[in-house]
C-alpha cells in the first residue's frame, strides 16, 4: 500500500501499512476549501504556523514531563522503564526494515545480541569504557546487517525470512562455541565497577540505574528522530516504494538492491545499539537468555502491537511487550501469562490490525490535519484556488493501492 502523498506529511504517526497490511478505514479527506467551514471536517493546522509550533512545543514538554516523572519512580520501576526504552530502540531498528522496507526479519535477536556481546566482551575482557564500545557495536551490527541484506537481492518473501531465521538461530550457537571470548553457555558477567557511570556525571556506582535510564531515553529519542528523518528522506521514499511495489520502484529509478541492503544495515545497527545499551543495563549476558529466536518474536510482536511503519509504534509496542507479561503474570505466574500473551497477539490482529498507534493515528487524523503552507488549497480557511490538477480526494491518500 501506499507511497504516501508528500502533502500530508505531519507529526502524527502515519498509518501505512506494510506489504498490504490494511490501513483500515481511509481517513476523511481534506477537501479543498471544505473542512473547517462545514464544521464536520478535521481541524486544519498549517505546517510551520504558530499553532503548529505550539503543538510541537507541547509535545516536547509532555515528553520531558513524563521522563522526569518516570525517573522519580522506585528503582525497580526505573529499571523496567529503561528496559522499555532499550526494547523500543531495538524495535525502531526492526521497523526500518520490516515496517518501512517490507522485509520481514525474524533474526533481529542476532543484531541485539551482537551489540550486547560486543560491549560485554570489550568491557569485561579489555577494560574498555562502556560508552566507547557503542560505536564498535554499531559498526559491527551494521556490517552484519549488510551481510544479511545481501541475500535479499535474490531471495524473497518467506525464503528471505529463512535467511534471517538462520542468523537468529545461529547466534546463540556461535556464542556458545566461542567460549574463550564470550564465556560460552555459562554466560558473561561484566563487573558492575566497570559499568559505573562516568565520573563527570557525579553519579556513584549505585546510581547506574538512573544513569542508564537517561542514557537510554536520550538514545531512544535520538534514534526515533533519525529514523523519522530517514523515512522522510529520498532514501526513505525508496524504501517505501520498494516495499509497495518493487518492480515499479526499480522502473522509477530506485536502486532496489542498494536500498534493501542499506536498510538492513541501518536497521541492524540500531538494534545492535539497543543491545549495547542492554549490556550496560543488565550487566550479565547468556546466549540462551535474551538472544534466542524468542527475542526476535518479542520484537516483531512489539512492532505489530504498536503499529507497523509508525513513528511511535515501537515505543508503545515496547511498553506492551515489557509490561504485558508482567500484568498477565500477576494473576498467575508462568504458563498462563504465555497463553494470555498469545491470545492478545491474535486478538490484536483481529480487532486492531494497524496496531495501537496506527489506530490512534487514524482517529487523530480524522480530527486534525496538518497541511504544508505551500499548498494553500489544502487549508480550510483559504479562498485561494485549489491546486489545478488533483481531484478532491487525491491529496490525502495515495492512489497506489487502488490501482
Amino acid at each position: 500500500m501506499g507511497v504516501q502523498d508528500p502533502t500530508v506529511v505531519d507529526d502524527t504517526p502515519r498509518v501505512t501499512a506494510p506489504g498490504g497490511m490494511p490501513s483500515g478505514p481511509v481517513p476523511a479527506p481534506v477537501s479543498p476549501g471544505g473542512g473547517g467551514l462545514t464544521g464536520r471536517g478535521p481541524l486544519t493546522i498549517i505546517e510551520g504556523s504558530r499553532r503548529h509550533w505550539a503543538l510541537r512545543a507541547l509535545g516536547v514538554v509532555a515528553v520531558v514531563a513524563v521522563l522526569l516523572l518516570a525517573s522519580q519512580a522506585q528503582a525497580f520501576r526505573v529499571g523496567q522503564f529503561t528496559n522499555v526504552f532499550i526494547i523500543a530502540i531495538a524495535i525502531v531498528g526492526l521497523n526500518l526494515v520490516t515496517g518501512h522496507t517490507g522485509l520481514l526479519s525474524i533474526g533481529h535477536s542476532a543484531f541485539f545480541g551482537l551489540g550486547a556481546y560486543t560491549t560485554g566482551v570489550l568491557v569485561a575482557r579489555y577494560d574498555a569504557a562502556p560508552m566507547t564500545t557503542i560505536p564498535v557495536a554499531v559498526v559491527l551490527s551494521f556490517v552484519l546487517g549488510l551481510l544479511v541484506g545481501l541475500p535479499s537481492l535474490r531471495i524473497k518473501g518467506l525464503y528471505l525470512a529463512l535467511v534471517t531465521l538462520t542468523v537468529g538461530v545461529s547466534f546463540p550457537e556461535i556464542i556458545r562455541r566461542a567460549e574463550e571470548l564470550t564465556g560460552g553457555a555459562a554466560g558473561l558477567v561484566v563487573r558492575s565497577a566497570s559499568l559505573a557511570p562516568p565520573a563527570w556525571t557525579g553519579l556513584g556506582r549505585a546510581q547506574r540505574g538512573i544513569w542508564m535510564f537517561w542514557v537510554s531515553a536520550a538514545v531512544l529519542l535520538l534514534v526515533m528522530w533519525l529514523s523519522r528523518n530517514l523515512v522522510r528522506s529520498r532514501f526513505g521514499l525508496g524504501m517505501r516504494s520498494t516495499r509497495d511495489h518493487e518492480i515499479a520502484a526499480a522502473a522509477s529509478g530506485v536502486r532496489v538492491a542498494r536500498t534493501k541492503i542499506l536498510a538492513f544495515g541501518v536497521s541492524g545497527a540500531i538494534t545492535g545499539l539497543a543491545g549495547s545499551l542492554f549490556t550496560m543495563y543488565i550487566g550479565a549476558l547468556s546466549p540462551d537468555g535474551s538472544f534466542t529466536l524468542l527475542k526476535s518474536i518479542e520484537l516483531v510482536t512489539g512492532l505489530v502491537l504498536g503499529g507497523i511503519a509508525t513513528q511511535l509504534g515501537p515505543v508503545v509496542g515496547a511498553v506492551a511487550v515489557v509490561f504485558l507479561p508482567q500484568l498477565t503474570g500477576a494473576f498467575s505466574t508462568g504458563p498462563l501469562s504465555g497463553v494470555v500473551f498469545g491470545v492478545v497477539l491474535i486478538a490484536i490482529v483481529f480487532v486492531m490490525p494497524e496496531g495501537i498507534v496506527g489506530r490512534i493515528g487514524l482517529w487523530v487524523r480524522r480530527r486534525v490535519a496538518v497541511v504544508p503552507a505551500d499548498r494553500p488549497g489544502l487549508a480550510a480557511d483559504t479562498t485561494a484556488a485549489p491546486p489545478p490538477a488533483p481531484p478532491p480526494h487525491s491529496n490525502t491518500h495515495n492512489r497506489w493501492e487502488d490501482q
Partner: protein, 298 residues
C-alpha cells in the same frame, strides 16, 4: 565404516522426522501460501495429549490415533477460526496469528500438564537389544519404525493426491484457488481439510520423535525440530511434497555428518551449519530445489 553407517542411520532417522513435519508445512503452504509457525507447537500439544492418554493406561496405539484426530480437528479449527478471517489481508497478519499460536499453544501445554520433562513410550521396540546389525552398525527398532512411518505416509499421500476426489480438489486449490472455486470445488472446505491434514501429520511427527529426542517430551522439544523442518521445506521449495522429504533427509544427514566429522562444528554448531548450507543453496536457487518459480505479469 560402521561409525559412518551409524551416523547415516541416525541422520536418516532425524531426517525422517524433519521430513514429516516439513510435509505438514508444505501441505499448509500449498493451500494458504504461508509458513505455519505454530506447526511445531501444534505437534507438541498433540503429543502431550498422546502422552496424557498413555498415563491413563490406554494403549500407545490408541493414544497415537487420538493425537492424530486431535491434530486434525485443531488444524481445521485453526484454519477456519483464526487463519481464514485474516488470510485475505496479507502474509504478515497470518504470520502474527501463527506467532500468537506458537506462544499460546506452548504455554497451554505447560499450563495443562506442567513444564517438567515427560517420558513418552515408544510405539516401536526400542530396548537395548532390539536392533538389527548392518555392517557392524546397529539399526534400532524405533529408527526403522520412523522410516516406515515416513514411507507409509508418503504412500498414503500419493494415493490421496492421485486417486481421490479430495486430493484432486486440494491440488486444484493449490494450483489456482479462484479457478478451482469457479469449477465447483468447495475451496473453503478443502483449505480446512488441508490444515487438518497437516495438523495430523505434525501430530504423527511429534509422537514419533519424542521417544528419540534427547529432551524427551518437554516444552522445548519441538522447537529445534520445527526449525530444521521449516529449513527442509524451504530447501525443497515450499510447494513440493517430494522436496520436503528430500530436504528433511538431506538436513538430517548433513547434521549428523557435520557433527561427526567436522570437529570445529562438533555438537554445538549443527543447526548453524545446516542452515548456512541451505542459505547457500537458496542463493543459487531462490525458490528451493523443487519449488516452482512464480511468473508474475506486471
Amino acid at each position: 565404516m560402521d561409525l559412518f553407517l551409524e551416523r547415516l542411520i541416525s541422520g536418516l532417522t532425524n531426517g525422517s522426522i524433519y521430513a514429516l513435519l516439513a510435509l505438514a508445512l508444505v501441505v499448509v503452504f500449498r493451500g494458504t501460501g504461508t509458513l505455519n509457525f505454530a506447526q511445531g507447537e501444534l505437534a507438541l500439544f498433540t503429543t502431550f495429549v498422546a502422552w496424557w492418554l498413555t498415563t491413563q493406561s490406554l494403549p500407545i496405539w490408541f493414544a497415537i490415533a487420538a493425537a492424530l484426530g486431535v491434530g486434525f480437528i485443531m488444524g481445521a479449527l485453526i484454519e477456519r477460526l483464526l487463519i481464514r478471517p485474516v488470510a485475505k489481508r496479507n502474509d504478515m497478519a497470518v504470520l502474527i496469528v501463527a506467532l500468537g499460536l506458537f506462544t499460546g499453544l506452548n504455554s497451554l501445554a505447560g499450563l495443562l500438564w506442567g513444564s517438567e520433562t515427560k517420558i513418552m513410550p515408544s510405539p516401536f521396540p526400542n530396548g537395548e537389544s532390539d536392533f538389527i546389525s548392518i555392517g557392524g552398525a546397529r539399526l534400532y527398532g524405533d529408527a526403522l519404525g520412523v522410516w516406515g512411518a515416513l514411507i507409509g505416509l508418503m504412500g498414503l499421500m500419493t494415493l490421496l493426491f492421485r486417486f481421490t476426489k479430495v486430493g484432486l480438489h486440494m491440488r486444484a486449490v493449490a494450483d489456482n484457488a479462484t479457478s478451482a472455486t469457479l469449477a465447483g470445488v468447495r475451496t473453503s472446505r478443502i483449505l480446512a481439510i488441508g490444515w487438518g491434514l497437516s495438523g495430523a501429520i505434525g501430530a504423527l511427527a511429534g509422537v514419533l520423535v519424542t521417544p528419540l529426542a534427547p529432551q524427551q517430551l518437554s516444552l522445548t522439544t519441538m522447537f529445534s525440530i520445527f526449525i530444521a523442518a521449516s529449513a527442509a521445506a524451504l530447501f525443497g521449495g515450499l510447494d513440493s511434497l517430494v522436496g520436503a522429504v528430500v530436504g528433511g533427509l538431506v538436513i538430517g544427514v548433513l547434521e549428523a555428518m557435520l557433527t561427526g566429522y567436522v570437529s570445529v562444528i562438533g555438537g554445538s554448531l549443527q543447526q548453524t551449519s545446516a542452515l548456512l548450507i541451505i542459505v547457500v543453496i537458496l542463493f543459487a536457487k531462490p525458490t528451493g530445489l523443487f519449488g516452482t518459480t512464480k511468473l508474475v505479469r506486471v
